[in-house]
């Protein structure tokens, strides 16, 4: 697992990994789209708008996941002095921001038929909005500070402080009663969702994961390349 913390190993390993990942993401996306449009039932309450879920939920999970990964790498970078962490941070932040944006847009498209408004200020939605802004600030810090050392440190510290927001996003539905759906799929015990909906959801989740990893690999590789040339 050295390739997860060493830029040179990563570079080599990702070269062998990238092709299968590309194939996998295309396949899963294809299957997922087919399943979510043709082989899944309409919800008895929501009609066909339920299909938004197959975009909404994976992107929501991934936005949280990406931030979690960034937090881990920030710790690695700050506490264990692994510069690869900084590389990952700056490469992955825009991807996370995109997932969050997709989550928000799909959520509000879903919310209009379900709740009657695009947006309410309940705890879940608000904390996701804050998450999005945090992502944006991370990107801005990366773009605005000229001194690389400062930029990296500030970003990592900011990511760590911002990670307070993660549990709030995740558990806000349990802690406060809100409009938003409480955890049904990702419950630790038994998921309370119909299998015919579960399949496309899982397929789409994998598709999103693979696509995300592919883009991340490209971005990390260019970042490593840039650093080599600047130094």
């Amino acid at each position: 697992m050295k390739f997860l913390i060493n830029p040179y190993k990563f570079n080599n390993f990702s070269d062998t990994l990238i092709k299968p990942l590309l194939y996998l993401s295309v396949i899963f996306l294809f299957l997922g789209l087919i399943f979510s449009f043709y082989f899944s039932p309409n919800d008895y309450q929501q009609g066909s708008t339920v299909r938004i879920m197959y975009v909404h939920v994976p992107s929501a999970w991934l936005s949280l996941m990406t931030y979690f990964i960034m937090s881990i790498y920030s710790i690695l970078a700050l506490a264990f002095r692994m510069p690869f962490g900084y590389i990952v941070n700056s490469a992955v932040a825009p991807i996370g921001a995109t997932f969050t944006l997709i989550c928000i847009i799909s959520g509000s498209l879903w919310g209009k038929p379900m709740w009657g408004t695009w947006w309410v200020w309940d705890a879940r939605l608000t904390s996701v909005a804050v998450l999005f802004v945090v992502y944006l600030i991370i990107i801005f810090i990366n773009l605005s500070f000229e001194n690389r050392i400062v930029r990296e440190k500030v970003t990592a510290i900011f990511i760590l402080i911002g990670s307070i927001n993660l549990p709030i996003v995740k558990f806000s539905v349990d802690w406060w009663n809100t409009l938003h759906q409480p955890a049904t799929i990702s419950k630790l015990s038994k998921p309370s969702i119909d299998p015919s909906m579960m399949v496309p959801l899982i397929l789409m989740t994998f598709a999103f994961v693979f696509i995300g990893i592919c883009i991340a690999i490209f971005r990390i590789k260019t970042e490593i390349h840039n650093r080599k040339n600047n130094l």
Binding site: S108, T117, W118, W119, V120, W121, D122, T126, A129, V130, V133, L136, I137, I139, F140, L143, S144
Partner: protein, 224 residues
Amino acid sequence: MFEFAKKIINFFYREYKLNLSGFHDILTNITFFFISIFIFIFSIGPDNETLSKLAVGIVWTLLLLSSTLSLRKFYKDDFDSHNLLILHLHGMSFEFIAILKTISHFIYVQIPFLVSIPIACIILNISFDKVYNLLLSFVLGSLILSCLGSISASMNLLNQRNYLLGSVIVMIFSIPVIIFSIGIINLEESFNSLINILIGILLILFSVNPWASGACIKLALQNN
């Protein structure tokens, strides 16, 4: 004539370089706007009804804030580094510089805000039929604020005695404007007549601004 147009374009190119180092600067502006809205919501509470009642006021306050935030940059930096003088020596009268600066303030500082107003309407639950009126009044209002900002920023260059005139009285001038514009959204019947009043104020300010700002800049250059 052709050269004249070129000069204007080049002026805006320069302002662009000064104000924005890239697209992410505009995005930062917009983010600032949204975070401010968040903070209002956190402190006022997420009750939908009060929110949509307060929404117009919130957006106005933020517009006012953003234009006071950028007042310092309006002329000060260029004045201190003698760049206003250099521009003048390239054949632009101070009045003309004032006009161009006002327009570029509108373009580079206010427009990023105006663009985000429709989204703000969504998250603040302003009904969509109001958006058109709202945008119209905001465009007029922010043009007025740009003119007022130009006058007050140029007065601030004289800074020694006139600071009271500079910032504060100009802000007080903006009160009637804001009252009118808020009225525009709430009383829908008299929309046209109120808009006309706003346009009137704008025209007056737009024609006063070059003379006032130009004179202040000139005086400031003599005293410095």
